[in-house]
Every structure is written in C-alpha cells, then in structure tokens.
Amino acid sequence: MPLFHAGERIRVLDLGKAGHVRIPAYVRGHVGTVVQFCGVFLNPEDLAIGNAGGCVVGCYRVEFLQTDLWTDYSEYPDDTLVTEIYEHWMEPAHG
C-alpha cells in the first residue's frame, strides 16, 4: 500500500544526505501535491554505491506551484512543476 495518495499535500524533507541523491535542491523543504504513485524501486542512493540489497522505496510524482518554488516567479500563478520524489523524502503537510 503506498503511504501517500493522489491529491495529498506533502512536504519534501531535506535529509542533508551526502552522496548520490535524486531529489533536486530546489524542491527540498517545499510543499506540493501528490499526482500519482509511480511504484516501488530500489533506492538509487544505495544503488549508486553498488548496494542492491536494500529495501525498495515508493516513488511519487509531486506537483508544486512555481510561485512557491521561486521568489521571482510571480506573473503566472497557475504554472506548476512536477518531479519525482522518493517516499523517505516525504512527510504529510497540512494546509
């Protein structure tokens, strides 16, 4: 059962992890809406150091308002950005 569902508001955590991560810096700490659950995958953070023995992690497409992500994006308030976030980088956000 995926932890998060389409339409749910989540916050991207900033795990302060060194090494290979696939969560771009510009979305960390921001709140977005889950678009869809993409399935489970081996964690690229582990695969990058040759460790294929860990547990799978859920992956979700999450949508953000551009005006939330960038302080200088003001003219088009409906524009959005969607990117893929792994479950361990997400927590529920309220409001």
Binding site: G16, G19, H20, A25, L47, A48, I49, G50
Partner: protein, 103 residues
C-alpha cells in the same frame, strides 16, 4: 548539501542551439556502459555512473564534454571495482600512440 551537478534554477545564460553530431566514440561510451550494466554483468549501473560524475569534482564537471564526463566516470568506477587501473589504461593508450599502425 547541494551537488555541483544539481543546477536546477541556479544558472543563467544562453541555451546553445547548434546540434552536435553523435560521434562514434560517444556512441561507444554509451554502448559499453549499457553492456557492462546489463543483467549478465551488472558491473556499472546507471546510478553508479551518475555517482561517478557527481563525485569526480566540479572542475571536471565544468570543463569536460557530456560524453567525456561519462567516459571518465565509467573509468573511475571500473578502477573502484578492480577491473582496471588508470595507470594500466594510460600505459595502453601510450603504447598505442607509439605504434600508430595498430589499434
């Protein structure tokens, strides 16, 4: 903690529009990585190659071309895995230069 490759939103400047040809050596780099990463070998995954160019340093990242970055990352990972050493590769390249008639 932001990798030097993690450039979303942090650069300005022109987007070059000249379309470059895809050269044989570049295709070969991709082909070799695909083969080494296949299910019968699993010597270099895409994730490992990415970790390779994300950790070989900002100077290389800034100055090397796209496929050269992948080639260098692949060599680093192969050395890490004990497949070859840079010294061995360099020696083989040196020998090939000295004997121009051979490949």
């Amino acid at each position: 903690m932001r990798g030097y490759h993690d450039i979303g939103g942090s650069l300005s400047g022109p987007i070059p529009r000249t379309e470059l040809p895809w050269l044989d050596w570049e295709k070969r780099v991709e082909a070799i990585r695909n083969l080494l990463g296949d299910s019968t070998r699993r010597v270099i995954s895409l994730d490992e190659m990415r970790r390779g160019f994300e950790s070989f340093g900002p100077e290389k990242y800034r100055t090397l071309s796209f496929y050269r970055r992948r080639l260098e990352a692949m060599i680093d990972i192969l050395e890490e895995k004990g497949v070859l050493t840079r010294a061995e590769l360099a020696a083989a390249v040196e020998n090939s230069v000295q004997e121009p008639g051979e490949t």
